[in-house]
Symmetry: C2
């Protein structure tokens, strides 16, 4: 037979079993954590009509999209979870209760240039709160709480949530007379970490046509923290001069005020007036999340407040706030940087039973008993040597091996070997079941991620 | 703005939030249940190279496939989870431990004619055990245990797992002299439930060229149960005359022997010699699962033993046994037939907190406390009337509403309203948290499915 060399497309993550168990644990933690905040799970199709997905159209997105025809239909694979959400909310408006809080974790597709750590198929893990006509600022204040708890549940602690409010920059730009250039100015100051303060000033003056004075004021404000001034204090002198700015300051103050009540420790968040988020549609609070030990990988969880989720599909005003985690890339980085927690059980089974009698009934019954107690159990009945079976357990890191031979059957017992300690005990099936089950449960709370000690 | 009417493609299931919660619960139960048997989770890409996916080629599959080009690549969406598994095992052969037990739950794509209850995007939930060179019969005996426990975990009880062994029919056909026509004969007897015994006999004689005598023997065997004879008894008279038949009888006997040890009650399985399963590649035990109250929907979980998983990609002999649940269609039927369990909590939150003071700190802190205790909690801080907020809780079926007004804050208490009983209590936050948490936990074991009483 002519054989085809098996391969997986480049840019598509496909994990070996042990790594997949870590990924699954992360998915589980995300689902749990999002659910704790009353977000309801959604699952929309991966394929949508191109007309729907590309309603907004244009730009990088359209070039990267997987688009094709099937019969008469012009179809595309979703490239994010936001457009499908907009469609869903517009379509089911009458049947949803608002504020509508949903989470969705699913694969999206972008035909990016293949390179290490970049994926064409990747998971996004999104939450959004959608209001009907209006949405209270408290929803924006709650988001850092969700981010904090979610990363904590995964085992990450060394990260900071950076917060800004688009109204502050917009209002401030109006105030210093660069209002009509605000998008351009924002894009420029977004570069400050990359190119530094001086070059940004030069760009503002030379390219954007901002006055020297305005450029100085802008830079003084967005770099105040480095100079030891808290942003809300730095903003104080401008209060009462511009409505948008005042609203932004008030919103940011509210978000900061409730941070502790939402359970976010002071060291895990900060105001950062340089954060603008590229997307034009954010209108209020914006978020970025940075790993303290890996700032170079950029934000691992971003989002913000927007005023118009679904304008392409409905005349209903649907403001919202949401965040997204690019899970596949995050996982890639975590694995690459040795963040996967070796203490987390990553074996497919808790127990491997090796029957050593012709009649397998006692072994099978014990397997059934263990499974009923929630212990993940596998029988090994292949015609292999004892040594081979032990090395199978080893290779899969199965923590307990159970032997059931004639002696055990006659005594109504089982022999349990703890593969970590090497200890071996011959006890009753019921006792073995209780003991193993207890040990397994102890390990259930171990997080998939553990930060390497610096 | 020109608006586009939001719509979802036909043949693509997209559920409203409440229904999605049932679906998620089913996914959770499947993951749990498959894991108990030591199956490890896998996740392969939805897009593969067409060359890989269509290695087997031909037939209905190729016509239905979603295939397109992107750049220079000829790509296809997977139409099942078996071909990707074959690729995965062939590709990662050296890094896997055999027997390799994996489960995968994921979406697959088939461009079928759209009709009610038929889907173009649907979930399959598969398990497979793959051996390296050989695989013991005990793996085939274990599968009904997995099927039984899985459906039980979902809440289904009224179903029967029908079992056959391809070697029995193959051997028996050889014995009665129709060996070279066995595929054709199998396809014909597969129609017995639809067209009846007489017509099958006529087809066997007229179309397949089977002798009258052989046709009688075949029909006597496959209809023995209706005549009150157990299949293994009916087969007894043929023992010792054909090797394949003998092996089939021995395998089927082993499978039946261990059924009780694997925890399958006698009423949930039966031998059915008419089951052949269309696919040519099954070689041993085959399974179908029928809902007793809905035989018309066909098998809800099928599969069997095969000898050559990945012959298109590798010269390694990789025999296996597996089953698949067509989850999207099953869910459609269950919903349609009113099997969704109304007792299962399908609200996005357990608690809705309504703060009634200007300062939201006490309300937010209580939300944080509840979430830390694992209680899914939402704050309702929108500027809406009390009645509207209560009807929001009602619409979402949120079981507990908490009021925190000036009186509560001053007394350090919260008022909890049980939305089911209407009862209302003003107690300490800690007590409220413990009480609600306990009530919620009681309901965690409620299954997503409940059979309607007949």
């Amino acid at each position: 037979m002519d054989r085809i060399k098996p391969r997986t497309l480049s840019g598509f993550m496909e994990l070996l079993p042990e790594k997949q168990i870590y990924f699954e644990k992360m998915l589980e933690k995300l689902r749990e954590s999002y659910s704790l905040y009353g977000f309801t799970p959604l699952d929309t199709p991966i394929i949508e009509s191109s007309e729907i997905l590309l309603a907004k159209g244009g730009g990088e997105t359209e070039k990267q999209i997987y688009r094709f025809t099937k019969g008469d239909s012009d179809l595309s694979l979703r490239f994010d979870l936001t457009v499908p959400l907009a469609k869903y909310v517009a379509m089911n408006y009458g049947q949803l209760a608002f504020p509508f809080r949903r989470f969705q974790i699913g694969k999206v597709y972008r035909g990016e240039r293949a390179q290490r750590g970049r994926f064409r198929e990747f998971y996004q893990a999104d939450i959004d709160v959608i209001g009907d006509g209006s949405l209270d600022i408290i929803n924006e204040a709650e988001i850092p709480g969700v981010i904090y708890r979610t990363f904590n549940a995964l085992g990450l602690k060394r990260f900071v949530i950076r917060i800004n409010n688009r109204k502050i920059l917009n209002g401030f730009f109006e105030l210093v007379g660069v209002g009509e250039k605000s998008a351009e100015v924002m894009r420029t100051i977004d570069k400050i970490e990359k190119i530094g303060e001086e070059k940004v000033k030069k760009l503002l003056v030379d390219e954007c046509g901002v006055s020297e004075d305005a450029a100085d004021k802008i830079l003084a404000l967005i770099t105040c923290q480095e100079k030891g001034i808290a942003p809300l204090d730095a903003l104080n002198e401008y209060v009462g001069q511009n409505e948008t700015l005042d609203l932004g300051i008030s919103e940011l103050s509210t978000v900061v005020k409730y941070m502790a009540d939402f359970g976010v420790p002071a060291e895990n968040f900060m105001i950062d007036l340089t954060i603008a988020r590229g997307l034009d549609y954010y209108t209020g609070t914006v978020y970025e999340t940075q790993m303290l030990d890996h700032p170079e990988i950029g934000s691992i969880c971003s989002g913000g407040r927007y005023d118009d989720l679904a304008g392409y599909y409905t005349d209903k005003k649907l403001p919202g706030v949401g965040i997204s985690i690019g899970l596949t890339r995050l996982f890639f980085v975590l694995e690459d940087q040795k963040y996967l927690n070796e203490e987390m059980p990553a074996a497919p089974s808790d127990v491997l039973i090796m029957p050593m009698t012709e009649d397998l009934s006692p072994a099978i019954s014990f397997a059934t008993q263990l499974r009923e107690a929630g212990v993940r159990t596998q029988l090994h009945c292949e015609k292999k040597k004892f040594k081979q079976k032990m090395s199978y357990a080893d290779k899969l890191s199965i923590p307990y091996v159970v032997f059931i031979g004639e002696d055990e059957v006659n005594a109504g017992k089982v022999t349990v070997k703890d593969m970590t300690s090497g200890e071996q005990l011959t006890i009753s099936p019921a006792m073995a079941c209780t003991a193993i089950s207890a040990k397994i449960n102890e390990k259930r709370t171990i997080t998939p991620i553990k930060e390497p000690i610096k």
